[in-house]
């Protein structure tokens, strides 16, 4: 690849500027702390009990479930409820959600990386104004614009399509993404840009060979953040889609309520199943996921 032929002052220069917090052991951390222990046990119960009840109930026969405390284990565990859910188009819902999340991530990255690059590297009035515009967007809840967006989506002939979910979701994921990315980009030192400029690199090449590689942390945070927006999104799918075709997981879960109405175990089974894909991601890439999410908070 062409960039491999380039000299790389990048790496050597980065060493002094990027100071990674060293792994330190706190001297008091080794001492027992009974108060904290008790507190965390209580929180453990708060976290575990609903999860346990969810699993236990999802394994209960439908007719046993009502009038039966969800805390009691089922007398005859069954996988019927999971079967019911899997035969009700769960795979299709999951696929749509994955598509929607990929679409949102793609749009957010393609638009926000160059945008943040410009916001960090130029000091014009306009880029400052644009940056402030995005800052304001951080607090604007997407719900507020669902009515006019519905009108726009209908006029654009996008009603009842996945794009109707993806485009506005991506737009509303942009402010926080820009915030995260500008924070990361700011950490690339001036010397690195200069070194590349000395080699006659264009700004576009700097974007691909310096900015993107150096802001990998920020980018993965943005990927996780925007994918989560798509994964969690409910109102846009609820209003902008209607048929089975573009139905995503969150809306599918909500619709199972009317479909399974009287079958609470099946609803809980669908809740369990909806968590499985991201749980697998969590198991496989826990460090990246957790690190990325910490990035939303700064570092």
């Amino acid at each position: 690849m062409s960039h491999d032929t380039l000299p790389r002052p990048v790496k050597t220069d980065s060493a002094p500027t990027v100071e990674r917090p060293a792994r330190r052991r706190r001297h008091w951390a080794r001492r027992a702390n009974p108060l904290a222990g008790a507190g965390t046990l209580i929180w453990l119960a708060v976290v575990i009990i609903p999860i346990y009840a969810m699993f236990s109930a999802s394994l209960t026969h439908q007719d046993e479930a009502l009038g039966h405390s969800a805390l009691k284990p089922p007398s005859h565990p069954t996988l019927d409820n999971y079967n019911t859910v899997l035969h009700n188009g769960f795979g299709h819902l999951l696929w749509n959600t994955v598509l929607a999340a990929a679409g949102v991530v793609l749009i957010v990255l393609v638009l926000c990386v160059p945008l943040s690059y410009v916001a960090v590297r130029t000091r014009s009035v306009w880029s400052g104004a644009a940056f402030r515009l995005f800052l304001l967007g951080v607090a604007i809840p997407a719900q507020a614009v669902v009515v006019p967006l519905y009108l726009m989506i209908a006029k654009l002939n996008l009603y009842d399509s996945l794009l109707a979910i993806v485009l506005p979701t991506a737009a509303f994921a942009m402010p926080v993404s820009v915030l995260i990315l500008t924070g990361t980009l700011r950490d690339i030192s001036e010397e690195m840009y200069e070194a590349m400029a000395l080699d006659g690199a264009s700004t576009t090449r700097m974007l691909f060979q310096l900015v993107i590689p150096m802001s990998k942390g920020g980018i993965s945070t943005v990927v996780i953040y925007s994918a989560l927006q798509a994964w969690n999104g409910f109102l846009f799918p609820l209003i902008f889609t209607q048929s089975d075709g573009p139905r995503v997981l969150t809306l599918g879960l909500f619709d199972y309520v009317s479909e399974f109405g009287v079958n609470i175990p099946a609803i809980l089974a669908s809740v369990v199943l909806s968590g499985v894909p991201i749980f697998i991601v969590y198991l496989v890439a826990r460090r990246a996921l957790v690190g990325g999410l910490m990035g939303v908070g700064g570092k």
Binding site: P114, M174, L293
Partner: protein
């Protein structure tokens, strides 16, 4: 940062065109930002303006919006439900913030320790965040059912019960995330500070209050901003858990808007509520930008 130094000082740019000399290296053309700005303007800014326009019309979703003058705004400002909704929204935001901050802070500082058991428990504590808000709301809707769930009481039928249920469900989902932020923050507190305090004979509690808490100030701001923004979007929880009930006691602003729009099909009025929400949120974010210093365009590392 090195920025200021660069601006003034002459650099060695021999062999490069003169026009580039005044610029810092790698200053990209603003055109690169254009697609993003346009996209955001089209799908986020334009709808806000459109909402404002629609708030002056009468529209039931069919045909075209008809001009209605100030009717919707008059109705909005005279509507008792707006006052109630605003109160509930603010109360929900404040109580959620307090609940989530206290627990995330304690858990985050605790989880910052490197012990194995802490790592294992932290991994378990993270699990609720893996479910979507819709899934979590459905789960608690089932668990709070008096005939089926864990608590055999009329939880969602009473005002305080429904309110606290929303606070709890929101916390259950988002505390793992904020714990993570505090964990990250706590790990960056320089160890020297604790060592110095230990030499001075400060106990654990003392260290927590005089070192940990002040050092986490910026983390708390970041996390607080995200919590406040997040609690404006408890819409799913309200829709699934309480439908704004009992009566109208948990109808937060976004739910009020949804109800006016997609239950009564009074999209003009819904747009007035939405515009109000946009104005309130803008004011809130201006305030937060000011308080948190995000506007200073600083590096993430500074002050974290």
């Amino acid at each position: 940062m090195s920025v200021t130094q660069v601006k003034g000082g002459p650099r060695n740019d021999a062999g490069r065109p003169r026009s580039a000399r005044r610029n810092r290296a790698g200053r990209p053309s603003a055109a690169l930002a254009l697609p993003g700005v346009l996209f955001f303007a089209f799908f986020a800014i334009a709808p806000m303006l459109l909402a404002f326009y629609l708030s002056f019309t009468k529209w039931n979703g069919l045909g075209d919006p008809q001009p209605a003058g100030l009717a919707n705004w008059r109705k909005l400002l005279g509507d008792d439900r707006l006052t109630q909704s605003l109160t509930v929204t603010v109360a929900l935001t404040v109580v959620s913030w307090a609940f989530q901050t206290v627990i995330s802070l304690l858990l985050g500082v605790w989880a910052a320790g490197r012990q194995r058991n802490r790592a294992v428990l932290s991994a378990i504590f993270f699990v609720p965040f893996l479910l979507s808000s819709t899934a979590i709301s459905l789960l608690f809707y089932a668990l709070l059912d008096p005939n089926f769930g864990i608590i055999h009481k009329d939880t969602l039928g009473t005002t305080s019960g429904a309110f606290l249920a929303i606070v709890f469900v929101g916390g259950w989902q988002f505390i793992p995330f904020h714990t993570l932020i505090y964990q990250g923050g706590a790990r960056q507190i320089p160890e020297v500070l604790y060592q110095a305090a230990a030499i001075d004979g400060a106990g654990r509690l003392r260290q927590f209050f005089s070192i940990t808490l002040p050092q986490l100030r910026n983390t708390a701001t970041t996390s607080g901003v995200l919590m406040v923004v997040g609690s404006l979007t408890y819409f799913e929880t309200v829709l699934i858990l309480t439908q704004g009930g009992p009566g109208t006691d948990t109808a937060i602003l976004p739910y009020l808007m949804y109800e006016a729009g997609f239950k009564s099909y009074d999209f003009g009025y819904a747009s007035a509520v939405a515009s109000f929400l946009v104005l309130a949120a803008t004011a809130l974010s201006l305030l937060m930008v000011k308080l948190s210093g995000f506007g200073a365009m600083r590096s993430t590392r500074e002050g974290m």
